[in-house]
């Protein structure tokens, strides 16, 4: 049982290290795929904007961790 828990924990840790970082990405993806197409942005800009949001999340998260260290 302990081994199964370890495997599940390992599987979870493949995708989540810093919970806020992962939640930020998921929230942005949800907004980007569901709401961005409804906003008055050019049709070719929706997908690149999803990338830009992810880039901002990465820079912000590493900056925040660096300041807290």
């Amino acid at each position: 049982m302990g081994w199964i828990n370890a495997a599940i924990g390992q599987l979870f840790s493949l995708f989540v290290d810093d919970v806020w970082f992962s939640l930020g990405i998921i929230a942005w993806i949800a907004f980007g795929t569901l709401q961005l197409p409804k906003l008055p942005v050019g049709p070719g800009w929706d997908a690149p904007l999803i990338f830009l949001g992810c880039a901002v999340i990465l820079v912000f998260s590493t900056w925040r961790t660096a300041r807290a260290s």
């Binding site: 970082f21 070719g44 929706d46 997908a47 990338f51 990465l58």
Partner: protein, 253 residues
């Protein structure tokens, strides 16, 4: 060569490279543990445990692999894209923090020493089978191998590039086994953080690309957008390293 063929060729090559580099990182980590087990408790249980782990992974792929074809392609792209992005950006974040000196670098020699010490504390092997050695070796191969399987399936399945992904991972396995047998000690010289940063960039780029495709959001340049995304994530990671370094220096001042 037209733009579509160029995009597909570029995408397959990038998939193979991503799978190869990511697999090298994981196989090196598994090798460190198997080496520690073999050195301290004997090669027979270490290799049987590793072999059993590899066999379990093959069974898992055989069971779950075909299920993927039952998932509609847009859902597959979206789900795999999100998982790839989470996985890739997690590696990217860690690599950025390590490059900036915020967290310690991964040290295979230290891990090997720690594992060796722990295996010695457990006492000498008793009887024909050494369960401690078998389980330690088995666990290392299964846990690290799961990551390899995820990467191969994730980068390969959505773009119809499972073959290049599997070739990349197999080449990594072969390379690590050959070098491991040759040097017979942990592969400490592998630039683990640079590999993680590179793989993080590649997987994040694939992740965002598949999310866009799955959600029906068009990419400028279609498949060739992956190249732009790789460049974009690389620039972002390098920028994040500089910003993180500067903010720690400022805090110290």
């Amino acid at each position: 060569m037209d733009m579509i063929s160029l995009g597909i060729t570029t995408s397959s090559a990038t998939v193979a490279i991503a799978a190869f580099l990511a697999s090298v990182v994981e196989f090196v980590e598994a090798l460190t543990i198997v080496l520690a087990v073999g050195t301290v408790r004997g090669w027979r249980p270490a290799l049987i445990g590793a072999g059993a782990g590899a066999a379990l992974l093959v069974v898992l792929v055989a069971i779950f692999g075909p299920l993927l074809s039952a998932v509609p392609i847009t859902w597959l792209q979206l789900i795999v894209g999100i998982l790839l992005l989470l996985f890739g950006m997690r590696w990217l974040r860690k690599a950025v923090l390590r490059s900036a000196g915020i967290i310690a670098l991964h040290d295979e020699v230290a891990i090997y020493a720690k594992e060796t010490k722990s295996l010695q504390i457990d006492g000498p092997p008793t009887g024909r089978w050494d369960p401690i050695a078998l389980i330690t070796s088995f666990k290392a191969v299964v846990l690290e191998g799961l990551e390899v399987i995820f990467i191969v399936i994730a980068v390969g399945s959505t773009g119809d590039a499972l073959v290049p992904a599997a070739i990349g991972a197999s080449a990594a396995l072969l390379l690590v086994i050959v070098v491991g047998i040759a040097v017979h000690r942990p592969l400490a010289r592998v630039p683990e953080n640079t590999l993680k940063l590179t793989v993080g960039v590649l997987l994040s780029a694939f992740g965002v690309f598949w999310i866009g495709e799955g959600a029906g959001l068009p990419w400028p340049g279609e498949d060739l957008a992956i190249i732009g995304l790789i460049g974009g994530f690389l620039i972002t990671a390098l920028l994040a390293i500089q910003i993180a370094r500067r903010s720690t220096v400022l805090e110290e001042v």
